[in-house]
């Protein structure tokens, strides 16, 4: 009994992974074959990019602030509060900026993609689209994927900038340290490998959150309840996968561009 359940679960998991890989690959390669729906791409970019701006700015500012608070307490023990700037900017740019933005946007947009496409499935709108001769993968999925990749790239830059600014505000107004020194340290110790690392990650995260959101949306079954289930799965799996892929990517990127 138990073994059968495990076997079934494992089989399901493998099948899901296989379906997802095929799906993600097809959606991605559609960009190189017409028709390409540019207007959809712009609409989605607006929803994902500008729509997520407030939460990205807020979470960036607070995270940078927290980093400055926490680090300066520790660094004070060694009399090294001067390197707070370096600490905040490196952490934000290499890790927290991309991951935080990825997780925030996946909470907001992977869920909305899954529920929107899921409702379209259960009301037969997806079937209607196919019956009208339009490929939902091209029309709905591909624009969302590329809009997410492009927008997450820019949102990550915004998050990084806000994080450093937040850290600066805390340093100046709460820790009463020198702001110029903070900014100098934040800037001087940045190297290209750090920036590359920070900017490659969001490309992957954008792909993950949008393809997972659409994947679970399109495989919705079982009415409105099913839409709820798909939404949960999409948010959970995209967030988990973003953190896991971050781990892998960091490994690879550190090998390619050794830090320090």
């Amino acid at each position: 009994m138990a073994i059968q359940t495990i076997e079934k679960t494992a089989k399901n998991l493998i099948l899901t992974v296989q379906d997802y890989s095929l799906f993600a690959w097809r959606a991605f390669t559609n960009l190189y074959r017409p028709p390409i729906y540019w207007s959809e791409f712009l609409v989605q970019s607006d929803i994902i990019g500008f729509g997520s701006l407030p939460i990205v700015v807020l979470s960036g500012l607070s995270t940078g602030g927290v980093l400055a608070l926490q680090s300066s307490a520790t660094l004070a023990q060694f009399g090294a509060t001067a390197i707070t700037g370096q600490f905040v900017s490196l952490t934000m740019i290499r890790e927290l900026g991309p991951v935080l933005t990825g997780v925030m946007v996946s909470g907001r947009n992977a869920s909305s993609m899954a529920s929107e496409l899921g409702s379209m499935v259960v009301t037969e709108q997806i079937d209607a689209m196919r019956a009208l001769g339009v490929d939902p993968l091209r029309k709905l999925v591909t624009p969302r994927i590329f809009a997410s990749i492009a927008m997450l790239f820019f949102l990550t830059i915004v998050a990084d900038a806000c994080g450093i600014a937040g850290g600066g505000l805390v340093t100046v107004f709460m820790n009463h340290q020198n702001g110029t020194q903070y900014l100098n340290m934040a800037w001087e110790h940045l190297r290209y490998p750090d920036i590359i690392q920070g900017l490659v990650k969001p490309l992957f995260f954008g792909y993950i959150l949008s393809s997972i959101g659409c994947f679970y949306g399109l495989r919705t079954t079982g009415g409105t309840q099913g839409v709820g289930r798909s939404t949960i799965e999409a948010v959970v799996w995209s967030s988990v996968l973003i953190i896991f892929v971050d781990f892998l990517l960091t490994q690879v990127l550190l090998t390619l561009f050794p830090a320090l």
């Binding site: 009301t123 037969e124 709108q125 209607a128 019956a131 009208l132 001769g133 339009v134």
Partner: protein, 281 residues
């Protein structure tokens, strides 16, 4: 096997090509989801100009059969021909072009609720980049056909069930399809609205002679369809003289996944099959 009779008149498809054989044909089609089979060994065909009415109780697999006809679902076994091409194993990418030549009215309408009525009806034309002025004109024509011109700028959420069904019909008609698939177009509607919709279908049948497959569980609708013709002079449907029926309208009946009847109204009424008799009563 179900060899369709060679039709005397050429296919009425707007693209002008004559389809020698049937417009669509099922050969020994079976399908199951997880559970007992939904359709078993179903064979029939739709000749050019023919209207086939598919009868059967709820849950027997009528919608499934309709979705098989344009490749929205894939059969487990058997062959399905659409416009002379085998679609049961055709890759999805190639199917889109074939599907675009059919028109389908879904059971619940399936209008895109994020688009206005105009954009819903024009969906295919917009994809084909038809100029805007022409789209507007053709959408107005289509909406006039279903007598809903005033809904042009509205959204589906603000329409009644019957109006939505008619908009869905306009969307299916707009590109003058070569095969029409209607899924319970009168399901859940009051008798007056049902008659309006049946009248539209009769009009389409007698004006454009588009071959079609129509699902219904209301025998009443099927009889109206058979006993009336569209009179272009009066602009409405009128009953045939007593004893006459439309020769191009024929019937199919499903019971527990099997096709138990395939023939004309005359044969249907005469049928000795106990299930058919029960359905007729």
């Amino acid at each position: 096997m179900n060899e369709p009779p060679a039709s005397a008149q050429p296919g009425p498809g707007p693209s002008g090509q004559d389809i020698a054989g049937p417009v669509a044909a099922f050969c020994n089609v079976s399908i199951a989801f997880d559970g007992p089979p939904v359709l078993t060994d179903v064979s029939f065909s739709i000749a050019p100009g023919e209207t086939r009415v598919l009868l059967g109780p709820a849950g027997v697999g009528k919608s499934v059969l309709l979705k098989l006809a344009n490749g929205l679902l894939r059969p487990d076994e058997g062959r399905i021909l659409l416009f002379g091409e085998e679609i049961a194993r055709m890759p999805e990418e190639q199917l889109f072009a074939l599907r675009a030549r059919t028109g389908m009215v879904f059971q619940e309408g399936a209008l895109f609720d994020s688009l206005s009525v105009r954009d819903n009806v024009a969906y295919q034309l917009i994809q084909e980049r038809v100029p805007n002025s022409e789209i507007d004109r053709r959408v107005r024509d289509a909406l006039r056909f279903v007598e809903l011109e005033e809904t042009f700028d509205l959204y589906p959420a603000s329409l009644s069930g019957g109006m939505r069904r008619r908009v869905a019909i306009a969307r299916a008609f707009i590109r003058q399809p070569e095969l029409l698939l209607y899924d319970s177009p009168t399901g859940g509607l009051d008798p007056v609205t049902s008659t309006t919709i049946i009248e539209l279908i009769v009009k389409e049948r007698d004006v454009s002679h588009t071959p079609s497959l129509l699902v219904t569980h209301r025998l009443q609708d099927a009889l109206v369809l058979c006993n009336h013709r569209f009179d272009p002079e009066q602009g409405r449907m009128v009953p045939f003289p007593k004893g006459e029926t439309d020769p191009s309208t024929t019937f199919l009946m499903l019971e527990e996944g099997r096709l138990i009847f395939d023939g004309s109204l005359h044969d249907l009424v005469k049928s000795q099959n106990p299930f058919v008799r029960e359905f007729l009563e």
